[in-house]
């Protein structure tokens, strides 16, 4: 217990944030959260004013993903709170620990359709792991402690705390409570190690299928040790990229809709699939009942609800990956299978030969990946550029590749890069974006300017909503509908308006020097890379199709 002292609810909020080690928050003030912004004056927490609440939410997500800490964002009631929702949904889909604080109209006005009143507590049910509305000042500290505990416990996720204005102003005879310890609610059955080891030892063609849960569990070392001891051929989901060392000779790359041919063929042929922190997402499996059709399944996860959700498993290993992975790390005799997988990796390696002088985005992203400093963190938006980044850039840790996986949210990349840069001020942060996505949270360039954040933006510009255009060409008989962005603004002038240095490249011969100039520049930088509007992302597994029936560039 701390010393007895009078606090307001706003003061108490910052005291609790500081107890949880929060140094940075992202937000936007407004009427119903003014007492909290007033209390900010006396706090040691640094606030980053974003230019839209959605930007604040994504910055909190990027902060959390880049640092492993809880991301915190603030918004006022009504539209401020509703603007957070996409960010919270994104955090829920990708299991990111975020605590969102919303102001609410005073308790006496609640339920009266007051100015800027919305039932954000009700709206939060479908897009948070949990949410609270504080209607008694005596509950505030406990609720805030619970919010942090819930955000981090088990499968991580976003928690919203809605605080009416009178609670923010209320006086509390402050005794700072101790941090809440959340009891582990779900009792997990003992790990089924024996049957899993039996499956492993019988398998002739096993594959390690790595998901985002590995990074969330901070189990990179354990996974790599497991991969090294077993020498399993491995594949990764979008969110799992970086968990396996990309230089591992048994690594086949990303699987799924835009996965490598080697990864998808190997999974389709395997007789045992060892899923680690992965959830058999539809973008991974393609046609579910034809996914890995010959395979038995061992599934490692922290979330009981993921077991048997989309694919029946033969052995479930529930719990902490850091504990459970070493228990199954046994050497395997699968040399012919390893050789076959490595042969496929060689046979189907990426081809960067691209005739003509127009710029080939995969080659640009590969070159950026080769030039970027160690510990660079790359964020993306959503679309073709996102898949090219996933395919052609190399990451040595999942916290170095931040992309909106589950929700697939355009507008994620720039604010997530802001959050990442705040959490890792000494590391290089690159936002790879497309011209469609870039415009979705373009106002956050002002946040970059305001805080002089040296974020590098690589804007892959085809003046299209490229991925939708690609699908319209391939699956809607070329009937292009609302995907032309030829009226984009002048991105160089736009960047310059925010004091961001910018350059356009239009030919291959300009690319290397332009990338080097971007990295040499000390401040924020925008490199616009003009590409052919007809370029597609290959390979592509069409919807409701087995992963071995992928379409390729021909």
């Amino acid at each position: 217990m701390a010393t007895e002292k009078k606090f307001t609810g706003g003061d108490l909020l910052f005291n609790v944030l500081e107890q949880h080690g929060v140094e940075h928050v992202f937000g936007y003030p407004g009427g119903a959260i003014m007492p909290i912004y007033d209390a900010l004056y006396e706090s040691n927490v640094e606030h980053f004013l974003c230019r839209h609440e959605q930007g604040a939410a994504f910055s909190a997500v990027g902060y959390a993903r880049a640092s492993g800490k809880v991301g915190v964002c603030f918004a006022t009631s009504g539209p401020g709170a509703t603007n957070l929702i996409t960010g919270l949904a994104d955090a829920l889909a990708d299991s990111i620990p975020v605590v969102a604080i919303t102001g609410q109209v005073a308790t006496a006005a609640m339920g009266s359709d007051a100015f800027q009143e919305i039932d954000i507590f009700g709206l939060s049910l479908a897009c948070t792991k949990h949410s609270f509305q504080v209607t008694n000042i005596d509950d505030l500290a406990k609720v805030l402690h619970q919010a942090f505990a819930i955000a981090l416990e088990g499968r991580q996720g976003p928690v919203l705390v809605d605080i009416p204005k009178d609670i923010q102003l209320a006086q509390v005879n402050g005794c700072l409570e101790h941090l809440a310890k959340l009891k582990n609610k779900v009792k997990l059955p003992p790990a089924n190690v024996g049957s899993a080891i039996a499956l492993l030892s019988q398998a002739k063609q096993p594959i390690l299928y790595v998901g985002g849960g590995v990074g969330m569990a901070n189990a990179i070392d354990e996974l790599r040790s497991f991969a090294q001891i077993t020498a399993l051929p491995s594949v990764s989901t979008l969110k799992g990229l970086g968990a396996i060392d990309p230089k591992d000779s048994n690594y086949l790359g990303m699987l799924g809709m835009h996965g490598t041919k080697a990864a998808n063929l190997a999974v389709q042929e395997c007789d045992l699939l060892i899923a680690v922190g992965a959830r058999f997402d539809d973008r991974v499996t393609g046609k579910l009942n034809e996914f890995a059709p010959h395979a038995k399944v061992i599934h490692f996860d922290i979330d009981t609800a993921e077991i048997n959700k989309r694919r029946a498993v033969d052995a479930a290993i529930l719990g902490d990956l850091k504990v459970n992975l070493p228990a199954l790390a046994v050497p395997l005799s699968i040399a012919p299978w390893q050789a076959k997988c490595q042969q496929m990796a060689n046979d189907y390696a990426w081809d960067y030969n691209h005739p003509g002088e127009t710029i080939f985005a995969p080659a640009v992203l590969k070159e950026i990946s080769e030039q970027m400093p160690k510990n660079t963190c790359v964020t993306t938006d959503v679309g073709q550029h996102q898949m090219w980044a996933a395919q052609h850039m190399r990451f040595d840790d999942p916290s170095n590749f931040l992309t909106s996986g589950g929700m697939g949210t355009m507008g994620f990349g720039i604010p997530a890069a802001i959050g990442a840069q705040v959490s890792r001020p000494r590391d290089c942060i690159i936002a790879v974006s497309g011209d469609g996505s870039f415009m979705m949270n373009v106002q956050e360039l002002s946040t970059i300017k305001r805080f002089q954040l040296p974020v590098k933006i690589v804007l892959i510009d085809n003046a299209k909503l490229g991925m939708v255009r690609q699908w319209q060409d391939l699956f809607f008989n070329g009937r292009l509908s609302e995907t032309d962005l030829a009226d984009n603004p002048d991105f160089i002038m736009l960047a310059n308006a925010f004091d961001i240095k910018a350059k356009t490249v239009t030919e291959k011969s300009q690319v290397s020097a332009a990338i080097a100039a971007m990295f040499d520049h000390q401040g924020p930088y925008l490199l616009r890379v003009k590409i052919n509007a007809q370029d597609n992302v290959w390979p592509l597994v069409p919807p409701n199709t087995a992963n071995d029936k992928m379409m390729e560039n021909s």
Partner: protein, 85 residues
């Protein structure tokens, strides 16, 4: 279509009933009946939920169990039955 009856014990906390109903609908189960009461001595609520779906009830049980305020979810096999459509 399968019919199931669930008995759920939950802490008597804000919107716990709304949370259960939201998860039930979202996960593809139709709510056919509900009763709820709270033991004021223990502040534990008991919710009986009659649902139907073509999906396995285990999927719903696991999702409801993830809600923070839930203490127990039980499927009453004596009441649950398979309907021949």
């Amino acid at each position: 279509m399968n019919n199931y009856q669930l008995t759920i014990k939950a802490d008597d906390k804000q919107v716990v009933l709304e949370r259960i109903l939201q998860v039930t609908r979202y996960r593809g189960f139709l709510i056919n009946g509900i009763s709820a009461k709270v033991n004021t001595g223990t502040n534990i609520g008991t919710i009986e939920l009659m649902v139907s779906s073509e999906r396995s009830i285990g999927l719903l049980v696991d999702q409801i169990n993830k809600l923070i305020d839930i203490k127990e979810v039980r499927v009453d096999n004596s009441v649950s039955q398979q309907c021949i459509a």
